[in-house]
Amino acid sequence: MDNLQRPEYAHAKALRRTRYTVVFAALAAAFLAMIILNINTGSVSIPVARILRILFLRQGEANEVSIIWKIRMPRILQAAILGGALALSGFLLQTFFGNPIAGPFVLGISSGTKMCVAVVMILLIGRFGTASSWALILAAFAGAMISTAFILAVSRSVRHMAALLVAGIMIGYICSAVTEFLVTFAEDSDIVNLHGWSQGSFSGADWSGTGTAAIIVGIAFVCVFLLAKPIGAYQMGEEYARSMGVNIKRFRMELILLSGVLSACVTAFAGPISFVGIAVPFLVKRALGTSKPIVVIPAAFLGGAVFCMVSDLIARMAFSPTELNISTVTSILGAPIVIYMLIRRNR
């Protein structure tokens, strides 16, 4: 029986492995391509040769070095990192709620986070004049947790996922309204910061911010990756997961916390960005042909990074010098994908 078995599943397994490799390779290639493209693009044109020298040899004109290192690189990296974080956050929320349309933006978590950050920002800047990124992150995290708690409370009373999404959208509106309210009555100086930030843009990226983001997101990524096994079990439903040995209470906590951290991170640094969390995991799963977390997690991260970098590029260059709101771009790219997803499901 052995000999008859092995070729069968081994064959299928090999096929799958091949597919994964191809997808990952494609993603990596896209990643590199985007970096290159992004570096190369800007209002100031710098030839490739010089870029390379600046990057690897740290040699070149101070101006150009500044542009590359201080402006473009951080932005690129931040886009990549935060894009990945968004994708992961979305993936976690989808696992948690068992619905592929769940995502931080759509559930209103981003908006709640933003509101909280706005409050803190206005308070802090009003008092102390500055707001360190850590303070903002903490505020964002708090905001994310509060909004998530709210969504959780709602999800207990509603049966339908659709109702949950509607609730999320409503929360989003409410929080936006509050934020707008605050903006109306805030000092001009505060507003500038807030406004710029709230637009959702990577333009404010700097190394310290990016560095912080990288650390946080990096740790979160590892944690999520280590949760791959229970996430896979959880895909079969809470009861089965429990019966297989998953500590459900702890697991759900971990999911929510990690998702909150990731989306708080993004919101704190770049404001609310929509649809990445939904579109990317979906696309990645389709490309890979599987929803196995151990494969999907790294792929989603890469995919998110690529997606965000693409969006950022478009946001920067489409109507140069005017910079588009990145949410706009991600919406234009992501919403059709989500609609397509919905149509497919109903079939």
Partner: protein, 805 residues
């Protein structure tokens, strides 16, 4: 030490702290298959969810022991990972598995055994393969899980559970979405797992028939407590299922023997359409079942005749195998989903009790001495009695067991009260049971002789040969059918194991009952092969419509509601102001001889019967009258003697004027002493000599070595000159009335009473009997109330008067 694998200890289950079911106390052994059955919403899933830790128990504990040798641990002390290695589940409800393939889902079962990242090793993959092979789903491996059918999904989920290598598997309605084939496959896999690998299976099922066949134990869940728990054969009978699911008896019932659901209207239709699934005994006999209406329900309207297929089983003499074969045939009819009503020719109590208790078939006595054809009381004829019983029990076939020899009647005089007489009066076809051991051709003249002796109105139509070999049967059948016009219905081969011992029946012990039932089942198995069932039914069907002179004239009161064959105590009718008087009837292992018709008669007069046990009960129930029948008080004399409270109560009630009617054993109980001789004593610590009875009546009863004043009698009140007749106002037998009965006892009393004269039929012998003392009337004679309805009416009326005091 046989520790239970899973132990539910005073478990209370429910949601959100609210208890749904409490007091759950169940131990499941290793490798057992336990099934929960019960109506929708009864809490089966709740119990299962509590076992799998999806729900927290509201109270109590669950214990699980990991290995055979380890001690049980509380369920909540297991870590999730440990529990996962012990227990796997299979639940209802759809899964959202996105892109998971079937194999992915099955491979999930390896969760407790894979490493940090959940990557499957080769060994794991093999186990997944084997699990998929076990459920015949290997070909589905690469199909997406949500793209396969429900049945295939269930199998994959089962494969997943198998992969988890559990020691106990819990399934919630695993067969719900499956067609028959997959149901069987799934259950057979579970069965294999249980038997070959010792995996314990706990599940809930809706299909009772499957549950019965696969489970080692069944737990019935209904209401706030576990309804019943035990082996399927023990607890799943028609009655239990009816109560469990609240079935409407008008619509149908659950036939526990066949494990099938019977719809009444469908039953009648199918049988009336001659679509009978019967087997023929002898091959080569061509012909289908005729279009005859074999089983219409008896005509219930008030008409002049009743149409009911019927048979009498008679014999040339005692010991031919009549009783054996009758019981076997009754069981056979039961199996074929008939509702037989059994009857016994003659006054004997034991055979009807046997039918009722062992076979569960309603049975009563038909006696043409008690119920003569020329009776003025037209409700008391044999056909009327038969019709009443058939209608009341909704029977579709009647089987009468004959008595002694076919033509043997009331002793010396004619053939009155013989089986022949009864067959004539009820116009019933007769099958003769012939003990043909040691005979071959000589059966023919024997049978011709019997047949010819009937002269014009031949009732004997068929014969069953007892104690012959299978080889001889075809030959003898040929002879008989050539030389007589009898039909050979079949035979019963010689089988020593098929005889039960003394049919000395009180109330049977459960072991005795099961024993007897097993024997009868075996007998029925044999008869199924050796009897031509179609011929049997055909013969029964040739019975013409039986003219019954206005048998339904009396108003039915309590008689219709409660079949008096049960031991149930009637519920308290405090609310019903018009309720009739209550009569306490003694019924237990010591007192069990009652004619169904007697009890029915009392109910027709408006009385309500409530049963009690002079042996067990310490108190009389609330009643307005007391009836003590015959039985075996001598076998329980010690217990009766020791039950002082009961005796005192009886004395007190009697002294207050409560009407008392007692016969034979009951009469003995009311007297002062009961003297047992050596052979009877020692049964329950009784005094070797004398047991004190109620002491209500003077006299001592002593055992003799032969039957005393045995036989049919007719009772009438003595002309009133002597002293005992002075208190005759309280007697129930009116002047000039005669009531019939019989005496059958080995005991005799020093004071038999002299209120009445008993006369044997033929008028030659007579003697005094019956003690009448204020409100008490008692004596050795067993009376048949229908032979004098005024008697029963008088008794009930006295009880009514007493109740008004």
């Amino acid at each position: 030490m046989d520790k239970n694998h899973l132990q539910l200890d005073q478990l209370v289950v429910g949601y959100n702290g609210k208890a749904l079911i409490h007091g759950i106390e169940i131990g499941v052994r290793r490798g057992e298959i336990v099934t929960l059955v019960g109506p929708n919403g009864s809490g089966k899933s709740t119990i299962l969810k509590t076992i799998t830790r999806q729900l927290v128990p509201v109270g109590g504990e669950i214990f699980l022991s990991e290995q055979e040798t380890s001690s049980p641990k509380k369920l909540n002390q297991f870590t999730p990972a440990d529990l996962a290695r012990n227990m796997a589940v299979m639940l209802t409800g759809r899964l959202q598995t996105e892109l998971m393939t079937c194999r992915d889902v099955a491979a999930m079962g390896r969760y407790p055994y894979t490493g940090r990242l959940g990557i499957l090793s080769d060994a794991d993959e093999e186990k997944v393969d084997m699990a998929l092979a076990a459920v015949h789903a290997r070909h589905l491996s690469d199909r997406p899980f949500d793209a396969v059918s429900d049945g295939e999904r269930q199998r994959i989920l089962l494969a997943r559970a198998i992969c988890q290598e559990p020691k106990i598997i819990v399934l919630d309605e695993p067969t719900s979405y499956l067609d028959i084939r997959h149901k069987l496959e799934l259950l057979s896999i579970l069965h294999r797992m249980s038997r070959e690998q010792g995996i314990t299976v706990v599940m809930s099922l809706h299909e009772i028939d499957l549950a019965m066949k696969i489970s080692d134990r069944i737990i019935c869940v209904r209401g706030e407590e576990i309804f019943a728990c035990g082996k399927p054969s023990e607890i799943l009978d028609d009655e239990t299922v009816r109560k469990l699911y609240d079935l409407d008896p008008e619509l149908g019932r659950f036939d526990a023997e066949n494990g099938s659901l019977e719809l009444y209207f469908a039953e009648n239709e199918s049988r009336a359409n001659a679509d009978q699934p019967l087997k023929k005994a002898s091959p080569g006999e061509a012909g289908m079942a005729e279009e005859k209406e074999v089983s219409p329900k008896a005509d219930q309207r008030e008409t002049e005749s009743i149409s009911i297929p019927r048979l009498m089983i008679a014999a040339p003499g005692s010991g031919s195998g009549k009783t054996l074969i009758t019981c076997g045939l009754l069981r056979l009819l039961q199996r074929k989903n008939f509702r037989p009503a059994a009857f016994k020719c003659g006054p004997d109590y034991i055979d009807p009790m046997f039918h009722r208790q062992v076979l569960g078939i309603p049975s009563r006595n038909l006696d043409t001495f008690f119920s003569p054809a020329d009776s003025e009381n037209t409700a008391n004829t044999a056909p009327a009695t038969l019709a009443r019983a058939v209608v009341k029990n909704r029977a579709d076939i009647a089987v009468i067991e004959g008595v002694m020899g076919y033509f043997d009647g009331t002793g010396t005089t004619g053939m009155d009260a013989s089986s022949f007489d009864l067959a004539q009066q009820t116009d019933t076809p007769v099958i003769l049971i012939l003990n043909a051991k040691g005979m071959s051709r000589s059966v023919v003249p024997l049978l011709r002789g019997f047949s010819d002796y009937e002269k014009e109105d031949r009732k004997i139509r068929g014969v069953i040969l007892n104690r012959i070999s299978a080889g001889m049967f075809p030959i003898m059948k040929k002879w008989i059918e050539e030389d007589t016009d009898l039909r050979v219905i079949g035979y019963l081969p010689q089988d020593e194991s098929l005889s039960w011992g003394s049919r000395h029946l009180g109330l049977l012990q459960p072991e005795e009952l099961t024993d007897l039932q097993e024997q009868i089942d075996r007998l029925a198995d044999i008869l199924e092969k050796t009897i031509d069932q179609e011929a049997l039914l055909d013969l029964a069907g040739t019975a013409p419509a039986m003219p019954v002179p206005s048998w339904k004239k009396e108003k039915k009161t309590n008689a219709d509601q409660m079949p008096s064959g049960t031991n149930e105590k009637k519920p308290d009718l405090a609310g019903r102001k018009q309720a009739g008087p209550r009569i306490a009837v003694a019924r237990d292992e010591a007192f069990s001889f009652y004619y169904e018709d007697n009890l029915e008669m009392l109910q027709e007069c408006g009385a309500e019967l409530v049963f009690f046990s002079p042996v067990q009960d310490r108190k009389l129930p609330e009643a307005d009258g007391l009836l003590l029948g015959g039985g075996y008080p001598e076998l329980h004399a010690g217990a009766l003697a020791q039950n002082e409270e009961m005796k005192a109560q009886i004395r007190e009630c009697a002294s207050q004027g409560m009407p008392v009617l007692a016969e034979c054993g009951g009469f003995m109980y009311l007297q002062e002493n009961l003297v047992l001789t050596d052979m009877e004593a020692g049964k329950d610590g009784a005094d070797q000599e004398t047991c004190k009875m109620c002491g209500l009546l003077p006299g001592t009863c002593r055992m003799t070595d032969k039957l005393v004043r045995f036989g049919y009698i007719e009772l009438e009140k003595k002309a009133g000159e002597n002293s005992e007749a002075e208190s005759f106002e309280a007697g129930y037998l009116k002047d000039g009335h005669r009531i019939r009965g019989h005496e059958f006892h080995y005991f005799d009393s020093t004071d038999n009473g002299a209120a009445c004269t008993a006369r044997k039929p033929g008028g030659r012998r007579s003697w005094d009997c019956m003690v009448v003392q204020d409100n008490i009337m008692a004596g050795f004679p067993h009376l048949y109330y229908r032979s004098d309805p005024a008697f029963a009416e008088a008794f009930v009326e006295k009880c009514r008067q007493y109740s008004r005091k």
